[in-house]
């Protein structure tokens, strides 16, 4: 295969995946997909290896890879037919990573044989359980089953699905968009294959995989050989108050890397557990971000990198451990991989980011329409300072990257009011470069009773600084702040009843600083003071060099 044809076909495959992704966002119904973009798309070869993806959320790769692998394990190509489409979400029988992420996967045929798969995943923000202790408490588990057979929708299956959701109209609209997107992908892939011929496209896919592996091996070779260790912890296991350690040892030898999580804590009682697919996706994210952001996501990656984690730990859970908020733990897994490689690659790894997947979920009956609603929002926070620049303020970090829901969309759809949406002053860790700031968002319940779920980590164990930088601020959940009845809520809370007029503030964590604060240029500190990013007291303590003099703000 000549290199140029390869490039051209690679670009063509990517265009198909991206077109699928754009169509999913635009045609879906629920705010979590259409506005917050909690969805991804990908194309696989017949062996289940990713050959192109349009990812919006790094975590989704774990689910997409896992579900295609599980379908292939259960169904030999001869048992698949054109017009089939599978629906899957279960982490333990389907390759998923948690139940709200629902995957639709369709085999694609060319010249009478299985060419590969098109797949998309979307996070359906629907019902939330209370007092979750097992996977059965978390919702409907869907092993790989056909939603489409011979191109026809299995209405009875759809009925079963919809009967298990709180907001079925939204689910139906989202499923319809997901079905249409895979059909679009199938059609486009067919056109691509018709244009180049099956043999050429298949050969190109193999070569793309080999190219990816060469890239990752080149990147690993550039890391000095050695064993790099790091330990951090979750605030708690979602139920008690005891921290759960997350531990990694990374061994680099030539062009190979082994990532071992031995020493990490046991399965959590709460829903913070991570299944293997989610662990792999997280490690993949962290290594790609640190080593080379242009490394493609494909099977070649896992030939160069091995990942090991003891079964029955929070990082490799067994059934029926609950997994709903596994993203909190995945953020910490990314943190420890970053921490370990900071020693191997000085100056290239940023300090710890907000390290949480801070979330608020309000559920209730809308007094205006008398219908159930579920409003989910996950919030960004600080990003870690790098050796060169201050950390970004108020962004999603690591394995997630959802958008916010605009206030004017939120209040139109839900009986809620946003009182405040701001950066948390002082939450950026001090340093030569400053850690990013967290977000404060305060939401009031209007004219009805609502049930509230909050999920947050780094409410006790702060995001660390690097090379002398100080830690960032911790997160918190506060009920009715600024009133006599103000009350701090636990960082993981379910089924909390809110009365009409109650409001909850979430403060997301900031991020660690980089380098000694004493080395921060004084005019920069003064500009931060004028902008209210640090207060006078903290500035005097962290940055004595800034007393008096000029600011460099405009």
């Amino acid at each position: 295969m000549d290199r140029i044809t390869l490039e051209v076909i690679g670009a063509g495959l990517l265009t198909v995946a991206e077109e699928m992704g754009a169509a999913l966002i635009r045609a879906s119904y629920s705010t979590n997909i259409k506005e917050r973009r909690d969805c991804s798309t990908a194309i696989f070869d017949a062996r289940g290896r990713v050959i192109a993806q349009a990812e919006h959320i790094p975590m989704h790769l774990g689910s997409l890879l896992g579900t295609v692998e599980e379908i292939l394990r259960r169904y030999p190509p001869s048992a698949l037919a054109p017009g089939d489409m599978f629906i899957v979400n279960d982490p333990y029988t389907g390759g998923g990573t948690h139940l709200p992420d629902i995957n639709l996967v369709a085999p694609v045929f060319a010249e009478g044989a299985l060419f590969g798969f098109v797949a998309n995943i979307a996070h359906h923000a629907d019902r939330t359980g209370e007092k979750i202790r097992t996977i059965w408490d978390e919702g409907l588990r869907i092993p790989p089953i056909r939603l489409l057979e011979g191109g026809r929708l299995r209405e009875d299956v759809m009925e079963l699905l919809l009967a298990n959701f709180a907001v079925p109209d939204e689910r139906r609209g989202d499923f319809r968009a997901q079905l249409a997107v895979n059909r679009l992908g199938e059609r486009r892939l067919g056109e691509l294959i018709a244009r180049w011929g099956l043999a050429t496209v298949s050969a190109a896919c193999d070569e793309l995989l080999a190219w990816g592996e060469r890239k990752i091996r080149a990147a690993i070779t550039a890391v000095p050989d050695g064993v790099y260790r790091f330990a951090d912890a979750m605030d708690d296991d979602g139920v008690g108050e005891t921290p759960v350690p997350i531990v990694v040892a990374i061994t680099v030898a030539g062009d190979r890397m082994h990532v071992d999580f031995a020493g990490s804590g046991p399965e959590s009682r709460g829903d913070l557990n991570v299944v293997r697919g989610a662990l792999l996706a997280t490690v993949y994210y962290a290594l790609k971000a640190i080593l080379d952001p242009t490394i493609p996501a494909n099977g070649g990656f896992y030939r160069a990198i091995t990942v090991e984690a003891p079964e029955g730990t929070i990082v490799n859970a067994r059934p029926p451990a609950p997994v709903g908020w596994r993203t909190q733990t995945c953020q910490r897994i990314a943190d420890v991989v970053f921490g370990a490689l900071a020693a191997a690659l000085p100056g290239r790894v940023p300090a710890a980011g907000n390290g949480a997947n801070a979330a608020m979920v309000f559920t209730g009956v809308d007094p205006r329409t008398r219908r159930w609603y579920v409003y989910l929002e996950t919030l960004g926070g600080g990003a870690g300072a790098t050796a060169e620049a201050d950390g970004l303020d108020g962004v999603q970090v690591h394995v997630t990257n959802t958008s916010n829901l605009p206030v004017e969309c939120l209040e139109l759809e839900y009986p809620l009011l946003v009182r405040e949406y701001a950066l948390v002053e002082g939450s950026g860790g001090a340093g030569r470069t400053r850690g990013g700031m967290g977000i404060r968002r305060t939401i009031e319940v209007l004219d009805h009773e609502a049930s509230f779920l909050g999920s947050l980590d780094r409410a006790r164990i702060a995001p660390w600084g690097l090379a002398g930088g100080r830690p960032g601020g911790c997160g918190a959940l506060v009920l009715n702040p600024g009133t006599g009845g103000a009350q701090r809520l636990p960082s993981k809370v379910w089924g909390y009843r809110l009365a009409p007029g109650d409001y909850v503030a979430i403060l997301t964590p900031g991020a660690g600083g980089y380098g000694p604060p004493g080395e921060r240029p004084a005019p920069q500190v003064r500009a931060d003071l004028e902008d209210g990013i640090v207060d006078t007291g903290r500035a005097a303590a962290d940055y004595p060099q800034a007393a008096g003099g000029e600011s460099n703000g405009r």
């Binding site: 051209v8 959802t402 701001a422």
Partner: protein, 683 residues
């Protein structure tokens, strides 16, 4: 009658086209731009072209120009010192934006810097809710306190943006009034005037950008008007907007954000106009320059408009032609990535140092260098030989990359062109196939300096049957300025379900918008037969959040009711997303009105019929490589200026002209029509 003058101000050159309404004669000119004071470059251009045409300044009846003043001010971040007044609790929204990080994996990718620093973002107590009612009233005394506190800050501009101001603009109006009184000399911009649409962040971002541009654009407009008057041109100048229409320079100075994306829009207008004269209504435009390429789709003579665009990381909610831009052009640099693959762009050698063959110190191999080695560009150089090309330098640059890749220099050069063509084919697919448009019913209009060199291969790749190369591909933007409509776009957010009872409310809103539009057309003195008003609605299924822009059928208002509108929405949804649900409720979100004043259509002179054989235009022969296996092919080289109407050139061939080079692949055939257009088909 008199002259119409189009002026397109680029970063390096200012292009001018002067058209005589009496004789139909066209004169073109190109002068260096003066970035420090663009109006100065324009002035010398006007003097120069009028002298060439022996025309009196007083006889110029219309001046339209395209400028990048607003674009560059935003990109280079040298706009006004701006403050913001917003709803209590929301001053950081400008910074949080949509809370996504700029790159999923690149941890060093910066967020675009905000245009108003935190210390100058001030809050006031006020709150309107989703139904437009006031939950917390605005106190004038607090407004005055906040404005007075800003008085010593040396402000040049103030942006005002409150939640739900598109439903309840009174709070913003109050702040604007008091600001004009208490902050004299400060330009004020309120979101309910600039972008009265829902989704607060995008509205805020648009309003802040507008405020940031106001002072500079105001000064520019004034200088421009003065300069034009000084040379004795009596016509009030017009300026090109992002929506592909022009507007008087005074109006543009009031809403400068409308001109930010205007750069490539005049070229699209010029291309659509050129094609329409050949009877081609549905086209793809392909404008390839040195660092970027712009493509767009024109259906039935009307370029598509989009309302969500970004520039320099700043989202803008303004009507803009739906142009897709990719960072690939003649100056794009080719390189080997860490997996051993050949890549082209997005880095560009720009005009300085430029491609290696410019011999200005550039070492990196570019698309232009590859074209030179393949014989597609001639060693005689660009701009009619005024700019020589150094073949040796191009060879050295390409050979260095070839050694890294383990390929021969020729394989590498051919590879560079194939990769950049694949990127551009992808861009053309985005605006056609991805939107459900079949390329086999279209024509490709190629312009920009490098467009005609690559377009033949792209038309073939996409199965586009005809290729149009305008007479002056490098000057199409300036020509476009002369054929564009006067145009203004108005919008109001109105959220409601589509049902028979809503038709009357919509009609009422449209009538209000139309009254405003008529007043504007009166001010512009557009005669009645040249006016048009178009009604559009942003529609979606209740529950979706992205809208389709639906043209409202006439019979809705003449007794048809909702049915024709519903039918049109369903058909568009089916085309866009592959499905349409009959039974789901449909929502209207925004009401839009487009008002146009059509100019007198210029009638360009016809090219005389060729009186001699095409061989008379043959100026050279050279070896060109199309296909590696076939090797170099001996090709005739024609001078376009010597081609007459009716001439036919068979590919393989090269057709050279002052501002561009057209490449005909083996099997392609170009016909010169009597407008001087090259029409290329597969033989």
């Amino acid at each position: 009658m008199g002259y119409r003058l189009g002026i397109d101000v680029g970063g390096t050159f200012t292009d001018l086209v002067l058209f005589s309404e009496d004789t139909g004669a066209v004169v073109v000119d190109k002068v260096p731009s003066v970035p420090a004071d663009p109006s100065e470059g324009i002035l010398s251009g006007i003097v120069s072209i009028l002298a060439r045409a022996r025309a009196k300044p007083a006889s110029v009846s219309y001046v339209a120009h395209g400028t990048t003043v607003a674009t560059n001010t935003l990109l280079q971040r040298h706009g006004a010192r701006t403050a913001l007044v917003t709803t209590r609790g929301f001053r950081d929204l400008l910074e949080i934006a949509r809370q996504r990080r700029p790159s999923l994996y690149d941890l060093h990718a910066p967020k675009p810097p905000v245009l108003v620093r935190r210390a100058l973002r001030r809050e006031v107590q006020e709150r309107v809710t989703a139904d437009g009612s006031v939950r917390v009233p605005l106190e004038a005394a607090e407004v005055d306190r906040v404005l007075d506190a800003l008085a010593g800050e040396g402000l040049e501009a103030l942006a005002i943006c409150f939640l739900y101001s598109f439903l309840h603009p009174e709070h913003e109006r109050l702040v604007a009034e008091r600001a004009r009184a208490r902050l004299p000399g400060v330009a004020v911009s309120a979101s309910s005037e600039v972008a009265p649409e829902f989704r607060e962040y995008e509205r805020l971002s648009t309003t802040v950008a507008n405020a940031y541009l106001l002072p500079r654009m105001g000064r520019y407009a004034e200088a421009f008007r003065r300069r034009v008057a000084e040379v004795g041109v009596p016509a009030a100048p017009y300026i090109n907007q992002s929506n592909g229409g022009t507007i008087s320079i005074e109006e543009a100075a009031r809403a400068p954000v409308r001109t930010v994306l205007s750069g490539p829009s005049a070229g699209v207008a010029g291309a659509a106009w050129t094609a329409s004269r050949l009877g081609l209504d549905s086209i793809v435009t392909f404008d390839m320059g040195g660092t970027s390429t712009d493509v767009s789709f024109v259906r039935d003579g009307t370029p598509a408009v989009a309302f969500e665009r970004e520039i320099g990381g700043i989202p803008l909610r303004v009507a803009a032609l739906d142009i897709h831009t990719i960072g690939a052009g003649g100056g794009s640099v080719a390189w080997r990535d860490s997996g051993g693959a050949l890549r082209v762009g997005p880095e560009s050698a720009g005009a300085h140092p430029g491609p290696a063959c410019y011999a200005r110190g550039g070492q990196a191999p570019t698309v232009t260098d590859a074209n030179l080695l393949l014989g597609r560009l001639g060693p005689g150089g660009l701009l009619g030989g005024a700019m020589a090309l150094d073949v040796g330098a191009a060879e050295r640059a390409v050979a260095a990359l070839a050694a890294e890749l383990g390929l021969s220099p020729l394989e590498t050069a051919r590879g560079i062109v194939a990769v950049v063509n694949a990127n551009m084919a992808g861009a053309l697919r985005v605006v056609t196939v991805q939107r459900g448009v079949d390329p086999s019913g279209l024509a490709l209009v190629a312009f920009g300096g490098a467009g005609p060199l690559h377009a033949g291969a792209l038309a073939r790749e996409l199965g586009i049957p005809s290729l149009v190369v305008p007479p002056s591909p490098g000057l199409l933007c300036a020509l476009g300025l002369l054929v564009e409509d006067l145009r203004t776009d108005a919008v109001r957010t109105w959220v409601g379900t589509l049902e028979p009872a809503t038709i009357a409310s919509l009609d009422k809103l449209f009538l209000e918008l139309e009254a405003e539009a008529r007043a504007w057309l009166d001010r512009e003195r557009v005669p009645a037969p040249r006016r048009s008003l178009e009604r559009w609605l942003d529609m979606r299924y209740a529950g979706q959040n992205y809208e389709l822009l639906v043209p409202v059928p006439e019979d809705v208002w003449t007794g048809g009711g909702v049915e024709p509108l519903r039918a049109r929405f369903l058909a568009m949804h089916e085309a866009a997303y592959g499905y349409a649900a009959d039974d789901e409720p449909i929502q209207v979100v925004n009401v839009r009105l487009v008002a146009r004043g059509r100019p007198d259509p210029p009638s360009l002179p016809r090219l005389p019929r060729a009186t001699c054989a095409v061989g008379a235009a043959l100026v050279a022969r050279r070896r060109v490589l199309f296909d590696l296996d076939a090797g170099f092919v001996d090709c005739p080289v024609y001078d376009r200026a010597r081609l007459g109407a009716g001439h036919v050139v068979e590919g393989p061939a090269v057709i050279e002209q002052f501002d561009s080079t057209t490449l005909l692949h083996p099997g392609q055939r170009a016909t010169v029509d009597d407008l001087g257009v090259l029409l290329v088909h597969e033989g």
